[in-house]
Structure formats: C-alpha cells, structure tokens
C-alpha cells in the first residue's frame, strides 16, 4: 500500500503492519499501556519507514488501542475513579512541563537512564531482588 507524506511516497506492507499492530495491541491493552515504544520499532524496522512519518502515525494507531482498551476495562469494572482522578491532573501537568524540560536535556541521556530504570524495575518484577 502506498502512503505519501509531504510529497514523498512510501511503500508500506500493511499486512505486516496490521499483524504487528494487532499483536502489540493485545499485549499492551492486557497490561494497561498504549504500546507506543513497541510501535515505533515496528514501523521503523519491520515496515522500514523513516522516523518522521512514524512519530505521528504511531501515536494515532495506539490511540485506537488505548481507547478501545479503556472502554473494555471499564466494561469489566477495572476502572477506579478516585485513582484516576489522583493521576489525571498529574499527567496533564507532566504533559505541560515535560516539553519545557525536554529542551534542556539530551534525549540520549534520558533514554539511557530510562533503560537502566526499566531493567531495575524488570528485575524487581521478576523477583530477582
């Protein structure tokens, strides 16, 4: 399937894209997150698309996943209003202050710290410590 972006045309294998998206969506909605960090590598590596297309479009795709997942979780009674209300303003504030801080830090450093943090968290979840 062909998509174009700002005058450039790209060939996209929608079969791979949809299959990957489908699997990532199952996993991420099962665990309660959007799937963004998985979609970006999927689109850049498996679909071979350049970064500048992927950023916005992956956000749109995972929005579908998050929206549907939210509705289903609510249907099952997994939504706690009080907890949500305590986190929602924080998310809004984070979205507001984040970009301002982002201008001053290098994303590579942040990513490396995130990697270390994720690994520690993963080890904790697996019960290693």
């Amino acid at each position: 399937m062909k998509v174009d972006f700002w005058g450039h045309e790209f060939e996209v294998n929608m079969f791979v894209g949809c299959l990957g998206g489908f699997l990532i969506a199952i996993m991420s909605s099962m665990f309660g997150f959007g799937g963004g960090p998985f979609m970006v590598p999927l689109m850049t590596v498996a679909l071979g698309l350049p970064m500048y297309i992927v950023v916005g479009s992956s956000l749109l795709a995972i929005f579908f996943n998050t929206a549907m997942g939210t509705m289903r979780h609510m249907q099952f009674g997994n939504f706690d209003l009080l907890l949500f209300l305590s986190m929602f303003p924080a998310a809004l504030l984070g979205g507001y202050f984040g970009p301002q801080i982002a201008k001053r830090v290098s994303p590579t450093v942040v990513k490396r710290i995130a990697c270390a943090g994720l690994l520690l968290l993963a080890l904790n979840l697996l019960g290693v410590y």
């Binding site: 998509v3 174009d4 972006f5 700002w6 996209v12 929608m14 894209g17 949809c18 998206g21 969506a25 199952i26 909605s29 099962m30 665990f31 309660g32 959007g34 970006v40 590598p41 500048y52 950023v55 916005g56 956000l59 749109l60 795709a61 929005f63 579908f64 998050t66 997942g69 939210t70 289903r72 979780h73 099952f76 009674g77 997994n78 939504f79 706690d80 009080l82 907890l83 949500f84 305590s86 986190m87 303003p89 924080a90 998310a91 809004l92 202050f97 984040g98 801080i101 982002a102 590579t108 942040v110 990513k111 995130a114 270390a116 994720l118 690994l119 968290l121 080890l123 979840l125 697996l126």
Partner: protein
C-alpha cells in the same frame, strides 16, 4: 388386656430413657467462647488483642473480616482436570468477597504455615485450612454468592464470559470460595497467622494486626473453639462452638482514601507524584509512560493488577489525544497509515483487557518483567551510535518538515505547492 400388659415394660423403658437423653446432650454441649476486644477502633490499621474464655483443651481460631466493604473476585479455571483430562474453561465470579479476610490459628500451627509458604505460589488454601483445622472457622466467604460461567475459547476471545450455569450446591460453593479467596489475597501471610495462645484452662489471647492501607468500616470478629475431632477413616466430624461476633472499626482519613474497586486504601499523594514524574519522563523520552506507571503501581501498592491496568489506560489516553491534536495541527500525521494500523489495533485492544482478568498478579508481574527487559533493550538500541547516525538524518528531515509545517500553518498556505497536504 394382653396387649396392654406387654406394652407396659416397653413404656417403662421409654420413660426411663427419656430423662437420660437430655442430660447426655447437656454434657456434650460446650459453652460458647467469650470474646473481648481491647480496642474497638483503629486509624488506618493497628493492633487489637482478642481474648476470652474457651472450653479447656479446645483449639481456638479467630476469624475476622471486613463486614462493610465487598470487592469483586474472579477465577478462570484453565487447569486440566486430572480426572477427566479436559480443561473446564469455567469462569467463577463473585461481587461479595470481603475486602479483607484473615483467620488466626493456634501458635503451634506455625510449622504448617511455614510449609505452605515454602510451596510458593502453588500453595493450596483449602488443604492448609484442613491441615490446621481452620476450616472449622472458615465461614464468611463460604456464604457469598458465586456465579459460574461456562466459557469457551471463542467466547474468551470475543470477551464474553460465557453461559451462566446453574448455582452450585453449598459444598461446591464453599470449595470455590476458598479458591477465590486465595486468588484475591494471594499470600499465606495475608490469610493466616499462627498467634493464638491458649492456657490449659481454656483462656486464650490472640493479636489482630491490621496493616495500613486496608478497607475502612466495620470489621467482624468471631472466635471458633473446636472441642472434639472424631476421625472415622477418611471423614472427620468436628464439634465446635462459636462466640458472638464482636466488631471493630477501621477509619482512614484524607489524603488516604479507600478505593472501591481495589478494596484497599491508598494515600492519593503517591500516585499523583508518581504519575507526574513518569509523565515528564515519558515526554522527555518520547514515549507515553504507561508502561512504567503500571508496573511501579503494581509493585509499590497493594492494588490488583486489573484495576491498575484499567485506570492507567485512560490516564495516558488524554496525553495521547493531545499529542495527536498538536501533531495534526501541523499536518504531521499520515491518516491513512495511522487509521490502517489503528483498525488492527482496535481489534487487539478489544481482546486484551479480557485476558487481564484471566491471569494472576504473579503472572502479570512476570510477563511485565520480560516485556520491560525487551523494551529496555529496544531503547538501548535506540541510543547506539549506528541507530543514532541513521536517525540523525531522519531527525533533521523531521525538524525541517516541522518547521515548514508550522510556517505553512501560520501563513495559511496549505494546499499550495510549497505546503503539500498528505491527504488522499
């Protein structure tokens, strides 16, 4: 006349027997244990000493639970039945599980509890209860209404629970309630503690240790004294007496709040701060942050993983939405691609949440741990020099596009050759 005569000795015998039977009953009827609580109100947890008088030589058990607050508990039976070799695919659900439930058992049962703990997550609640004799005290959860559904693989995929089956009989319901209790509360320490001390004359004391962060409201305490255990081959008949129910109150005050669906109380400051830090971090990284928020919440607080997953998702939904809005303003989104893949994700997002229900907290943590390892690997790869080089070129093109898009939007020149739209 003959008949009357022969009946007389029989009648006499019956009349003699009658006074004996009530007397015999009076002998085996032990007095109910007394129960006294040294405190009747707690502020977000604390310790209460239960004491009283039980029949001498009896085993004393103390059952206490949240009488006010009920939560949902469910179990998906996907274990192969050893007898039939089939997987039942049955789903059990109740909305009447007490938000807190614990049984205190005699001190000398500690070795049994230690053995159960050594079994890890495979310990069997019903077996342990039987071994330490606490099933005589197990009463509150046995009375809850449990619905059972016959699910099929197809049904689980679409997300329907299946067909509602007929109600189970008392025995089955009691057994299933034990499995639901274990599923809901998990660890041995949460459900059982061996700290009941009895004197030879029958006086007993026990300590109720309420941790912080539990459900507020009325708690009910009942003492069961087992006076006799008669074993006949496989069956065991138990003679027990129960005390009156005593109550105590647990109160939580703002900012600690009781979460209805979770069944636990939490100080709201923590999720707020956590979410703030993680959102900022997420923006810096360029990712959402839901995948960090989830495991941290699950490991730091006594929240069930289903609630965490269901509440974090709408939280990130808004930040995603605003991100899409901002990007689309500068015409940065390829709608065809996004919607195309998005539809596939719609279906996946439909199936996923059903599966959350079917896994246990430990499985959740385990799987998430591996997901995070993969993610951290992916992210590390994104910081390697090779990737950065390739990315740099694309990033600069990205920046250029962004600049052009913003300028076009400002000048209102969309649709011209200088600012091609990407709509088809």
């Amino acid at each position: 006349m003959k008949v009357k005569f022969s009946m007389l000795p029989l009648l006499a015998l019956v009349m003699m027997a009658l006074p004996i039977t009530p007397q015999a009953q009076a002998k085996t009827e032990a007095p109910a244990p007394t129960i006294t609580l040294d405190k009747t109100s707690l502020a977000n947890g604390g310790e209460i000493t239960v004491s009283g008088q039980a029949p001498a030589g009896a085993q004393v058990y103390v059952e206490f639970y949240s009488a006010d607050k009920k939560v949902r508990a469910n179990r998906f039976d996907s274990k192969k039945d050893p007898k039939t070799g089939q997987i039942p695919y049955k789903f059990y659900l109740t909305h009447e599980m007490p938000a807190f439930y614990k049984i205190l058992v005699p001190k000398d049962m500690q070795p049994e509890l230690d053995k159960a703990k050594a079994d890890g997550k495979d310990w069997k609640y019903s077996e342990v209860l039987k071994k330490i004799g606490a099933d005589a005290a197990y009463s509150a959860p046995a009375k809850i209404k449990i619905d059972s559904y016959q699910a099929t693989i197809m049904a689980s995929i679409i997300g329907s629970r299946g067909n509602l089956l007929d109600a189970m009989d008392e025995k089955e319901s009691k057994r299933e309630s034990m499995k639901l209790v274990k599923g809901r509360f998990g660890k041995v320490d949460k459900l059982l503690a061996a700290n009941v001390e009895t004197q030879p004359d029958g006086a007993y004391t026990a300590k109720i240790k309420m941790p912080a962060g539990q459900a507020p409201g009325k708690y009910s305490v009942t003492v069961t004294a087992v006076t006799e255990r008669i074993k006949e081959g496989d069956k065991e008949t138990v003679k027990k007496v129960k005390s009156e129910a005593a109550t105590f109150d647990n109160t939580v005050s703002f900012p600690t709040v009781y979460l209805d669906s979770a069944g636990t109380s939490i100080n709201l400051i923590w999720p707020f701060i956590l979410c703030l830090v993680i959102s900022i971090f997420g923006v810096l990284m360029g990712a959402g942050g839901g995948f960090i928020l989830n495991p941290i919440l699950v490991s730091l607080f006594p929240l069930p993983h289903t609630i965490v997953a269901g509440t974090v998702m709408p939280t990130v939904l808004f930040s995603q939405g605003s991100g899409i809005y901002n990007y689309s303003k500068i015409k940065f989104i390829n709608w065809k691609l996004g919607i195309g893949v998005g539809c596939a994700m719609l279906v996946g997002g439909f199936i996923g949440p059903k599966l959350t229900e079917m896994i246990t907290l430990d499985q959740f943590k385990f799987a998430f741990g591996w997901i995070l390892i993969v993610l951290s690997g992916l992210m590390f790869w994104q910081t390697t020099p090779g990737y950065l080089e390739k990315n740099k070129k694309e990033q600069s093109i990205l920046k250029e596009f962004k600049k052009r898009a913003e300028e076009c939007a400002k000048k209102g020149e969309e649709g011209t050759a200088a600012c091609p739209t990407d709509q088809k």
